[in-house]
Symmetry: C2
Subunit: 180 residues, 2 copies
């Protein structure tokens, strides 16, 4: 395996970071990756993957929720969401009930256990986030989240405004259409 000494690697990381200090893609990709790694690791004791954790959060925000809507909120296909919900249901965190008004769709909701696990996960997340943000002052964090929020709001809405129907697509779906 490609073993590189500590010192060599640290100084190289530093050089890399300086060379990419103005590259938005590098900055967002690396920081996001590093935080997701930390968070995913911190959630291991709860047995929650990031998609599972995200699903619990989304369901708690808007109960009841159908599986398809949950998938599109999280950004994965409804066929992929099946296994995620299967898993959460088997472990007693999510309840599937058939909707009375439309018996094809589920009303997903959190069980007592699901709420408990989620609240633990939220505490862990808060903790990880605080640890991660140590290098920033509170006013810097305020600016950071405001800026990122505005970037997301701006660029998330754009596609729907210019495309026609069938406009709720995941990144992959858009990519495939382009290639087709």
């Amino acid at each position: 395996m490609g073993k590189i000494s500590n010192m060599e690697n640290q100084s190289d990381d530093g050089k890399l970071n300086r060379a990419f200090a103005d590259s938005l893609g590098y900055l967002l990709t690396q920081s996001g990756r590093l935080f997701r790694e930390n968070l995913a690791e911190a959630l291991v004791p709860l047995g929650l993957s990031l998609p599972e954790y995200g699903s619990l959060r989304l369901i708690s925000l808007n109960t009841p929720m159908s599986q398809g809507v949950l998938g599109s909120r999280y950004g994965i296909d409804r066929t992929t969401m099946v296994a995620v919900v299967d898993n959460l249901e088997e472990r007693g965190m999510v309840r599937r009930e058939r909707s009375a008004s439309d018996r094809r769709s589920y009303r997903l909701s959190l069980t007592a256990k699901g709420k408990k696990v989620l609240s633990r996960a939220l505490r862990i997340t808060t903790n990880e986030q605080q640890k991660f943000l140590v290098p920033l002052s509170s006013s810097e964090w305020a600016i950071l989240k405001d800026c990122l929020g505005r970037l997301i709001e701006t660029h998330m809405k754009a596609p729907e405004l210019i495309e026609g129907k069938d406009n709720v697509k995941t990144a992959r779906q858009r990519k495939r259409n382009k290639n087709a």
Copy 2:
């Protein structure tokens, strides 16, 4: 397919963004994904994928470079890097020469064509980045990049400081070790 109307989706996006306005993971993941999508699309005319583009940039920063080092800089395994470099070499953008001092390893460098394509790609990137950053003032962007740079520098170095040897690992490798 899960089709959701424009209006419903836009207001739901707004609600989602507000609910996750303090969630670092959400903010970094979404903003990063949106920018990567834009950039990847803008680079299609040059026939460059993001890993190919990143490899060209890394090689240009530090010529000559071995394949293994290139992989660890970009964050993918050297076995995965083989195909990326194969592709760039076949298209005449990257040159592979055996190192005189260590004939196992390659000295990777950009060809004239590689430099030309990279300079076009850099111009495209600058343009995409400017478009993406329109919602921010220039002082906000200055703060944003400073903050993200410090977060990366802080959390990228930490693992090497506490782990022993074999410390240059990708996220996946660290994850697998944890699970083992």
